[in-house]
């Protein structure tokens, strides 16, 4: 009917649609600004420090020399190894202790779920430092753990736990346990019990159902929990400082001593970068290993 006029242009997106599309960016803006100002900018500055030379007394000059990385790689192999071994062991231990705890609370908690969760978090009401110092007393040579055992002659008098790797790993495990338990609990809580029922109906044994249904569904929790535990654990320095000896120093202690004790900022910055790189690589490998599709639920 109407004559074929010039083809009409499609109306452009209105203001409401534009706002709609911009919504994710607006919501992300605070987080991104935070990351930029408190992470990306300091990281660049730290990188520039790591390629500078000088001392606190004489000032630092940006010379783009790699001597700090040289020192970092050549002198601290043992401390890097300590960090990875202690952090890794502590993560595995928190998993072995935390998974049964989370499973019990999620599946068998019933009325007491909230109370049990509270008990898991309760130690956090005390300062991290105080709790670690209290472990120094607990693990002491004549303390409440070793003292009675020595009096009963069950262990030799000269046995020491304090200032050995065992004390450091124990301290890290204790301090990071809630970080493992809570994500595991959240993931296990979401599992529909009917799925396990269905598995049983299809002739799966108790252990088979666990292995084929529960565990894969809990993987996002396992990943989150192990990241929240492993990453801070390998950078930890409080436990090695208070509970460890000279041979159990971790990279965190070296960075702290170089930065605060010796004023050697370039080496400290270089060590921080190397640590960051090591963590990124480990996390990437781990994510690959677990299978990324499963991690996003």
């Amino acid at each position: 009917m109407t004559t074929a006029a010039a083809p009409r242009k499609a109306p452009g997106p209105g203001l409401r649609q534009r706002l709609g599309r911009a919504t994710p960016y607006i919501l992300l803006a605070p987080g991104i600004l935070w990351l930029v100002f408190f992470f990306i900018v300091p990281s660049f500055q730290m990188f520039l420090t790591s390629v500078s030379t000088g001392s606190l007394m004489d000032g630092y000059k940006l010379t783009f020399s790699a001597h700090a990385y040289d020192t970092a790689f050549s002198q601290f192999g043992r401390q890097f190894a300590n960090s990875i071994i202690f952090g890794g062991t502590a993560t595995i231990l928190t998993f072995l202790i935390g998974f049964p705890m989370a499973y019990t609370i999620a599946f068998r908690g019933g009325r007491y779920k909230n109370l049990l969760l509270f008990l898991v978090i309760a130690p956090f009401f005390t300062s991290f430092l105080i709790r670690t110092i209290s472990w120094k007393i607990l693990l002491g040579d004549a303390g409440p753990v070793l003292g009675p055992l020595k009096d009963l002659h069950l262990i030799p008098e000269s046995l020491s736990i304090l200032y050995t790797p065992i004390a450091v790993v124990a301290g890290i495990t204790y301090n990071f346990l809630p970080f493992m338990v809570l994500p595991l609990y959240v993931a296990l809580e979401k599992i529909d019990p009917k799925l396990i029922e269905a598995a049983n109906d299809l002739y799966a044994s108790g252990w088979g159902a666990f292995r084929k249904v529960t565990l894969p569904l809990a993987l996002p929790g396992v990943f989150a929990g192990s990241m929240l535990t492993f990453i801070p654990a390998i950078g930890d320095w409080v436990n090695a400082e208070l509970l460890g000896g000279t041979n159990t120093k971790m990279i965190g202690n070296v960075i702290q001593d170089r930065f605060v004790g010796q004023g050697d900022y370039p080496t400290a910055a270089a060590l921080s970068f190397i640590l960051m790189a090591a963590i990124l690589v480990s996390v990437a490998v781990y994510a690959r290993f677990l299978g990324t599709e499963q991690l996003t639920g």
Partner: protein, 422 residues
């Protein structure tokens, strides 16, 4: 009509994410590059190029001449101190830690001058404490302290870099009159313009008799004995000059800064390294806690600590090979706000009666002439205590290894770093 294939345009696509990230990252890089003008601190103090063998004292960089401080008592006096270094009574004495109101000397001072004293036992080691004030000193900012008590080598460093406030000698007549002669005319501050000694002390071997006998180990009399004990029950000092000084004596090398060589230090390092592998630790004053918990059986310790804060079981001996001698000095860091009050405190503690009171508790060697006579009146057994009044034999074996050349100090730092694992 503009919905493409059903994809929800509100979800961030990968391209948008990468574009945004690149922009943010580039902006951050620009901000970082422009913002980080690498620190141009105060011009480095002119340090003499010391020859290797003979350390020359660093020249004192005097500050601009300031008008004499007005004689007005201001407070509170902020004093950074080591633990177990002033007389205590009551619960604090049993605990071995200062708490406000627990020191008779400080209480008398507060009453006499009507000013408060904020006495903090903040110093566990010279290096550790210096790290907390070095950034401010370098930047020329106040440190928050009016007076600090630091060992000879650190006092020398602070004074030579011009980081100490000058003392008005007319405000400290007691110090001028009563300072013991052996402590006068220090190479690094001959006129006592910037420091007055607080206490003198010795570094030697401290041990716990019960722990050693229970475990059938001999009581150490020499440094060789100390090296022979199980290393995980022994601690050395994180005060490098004391640890390496005693190490030199143990190997029979000279502990005179003018004649120590690089090879000597290397030898000491190699002598201590096997002990580290077996569990040796380096501590500051924390050894007091380790002794209390019986974790440590024997250690390199400072002479007065175990006597004042330890139990009767814990003993200090000067090793047969010799011991280290040093002084801790009262210095006012640059930027101190209550200089007159600090000078009054220095003057107050150089009164022989007060000095005797302090020495009788801390068991260190008082720098004040006349303290000996007062102690005899106050506490007769103390007048013959070898910690307060070392015997001639001990004095003959004392060495002062505080003041090192720059090169020796750099090597010392490197070797100690290698031993301590950081």
């Amino acid at each position: 009509m503009f919905e493409e294939n059903g994809t929800d345009r509100r979800i961030i696509s990968r391209r948008r994410f990468l574009q945004g990230g690149a922009v943010a990252g580039f902006g951050a890089f620009l901000a970082a590059c422009s913002g980080s003008s690498t620190a141009t601190s105060a011009a480095p103090a002119a340090s003499t190029a010391a020859s290797i063998a003979i350390p020359t004292p660093p020249p004192i960089t005097p500050g601009p001449t300031v008008a004499a401080t007005p004689k007005v008592v201001t407070g509170p006096l902020h004093w950074a101190q080591w633990p177990a270094y002033i007389d205590l009574v009551g619960k604090a004495a049993t605990a071995g830690a200062y708490s406000p109101g627990s020191s008779p000397t400080l209480e008398e001072f507060k009453k006499k001058y009507n000013v408060d004293v904020n006495y903090e036992e903040k110093i566990e080691s010279n290096d550790g404490f210096f790290a907390t004030i070095e950034p401010q000193l370098v930047a020329g900012a106040p440190t928050g302290w009016d007076m600090i008590t630091v060992t000879d080598w650190l006092a020398a460093k602070i004074i030579s870099k011009g980081w100490a406030e000058k003392i008005d000698q007319s405000n400290v007549p007691n110090c001028v009159a009563n300072l013991r002669d052996p402590l006068r005319n220090q190479v690094w501050d001959p006129g006592n313009d910037y420091h007055y000694p607080w206490q003198s002390g010795m570094t030697g071997i401290g041990y716990d008799k019960t722990s050693l006998t229970k475990n059938k180990k001999p009581l150490p009399k020499s440094l060789a004995d100390l090296w022979a004990l199980p290393a995980n029950k022994v601690t050395f000092l994180n005060e490098k000059r004391d640890t390496f000084g005693l190490g030199l004596l143990k190997l029979g090398k000279s502990a005179d800064p003018a004649t120590t060589t690089d090879a000597d230090l290397q030898a000491v390092h190699d002598d201590i390294k096997p002990l580290v592998a077996k569990g040796l630790r380096f501590t500051g004053n924390e050894y007091l806690q380790d002794f209390a918990a019986k974790t440590t059986w024997a250690a390199m310790t400072w002479s007065g600590d175990l006597a004042s804060s330890g139990s009767a079981d814990q003993v200090w001996v000067a090793p047969t090979e010799g011991s280290m001698v040093w002084s801790d000095n009262m210095v006012m860091p640059k930027g101190a706000t209550n200089i007159y009050t600090a000078e009054l405190m220095m003057n107050f503690v150089y009164d022989p009666v007060i000095a005797a009171q302090i020495a009788d508790y801390v068991y260190y060697v008082s720098p004040v002439n006349g303290a000996a006579a007062e102690i005899a009146k106050l506490d007769p057994p103390a007048a013959t205590n070898p910690l307060l009044f070392p015997t001639a034999a001990v004095v003959a074996g004392q060495h002062n290894w505080q003041f090192l050349s720059d090169e020796l100090e750099t090597l010392l730092n490197q070797l100690y770093s290698d031993l301590s694992g950081t």
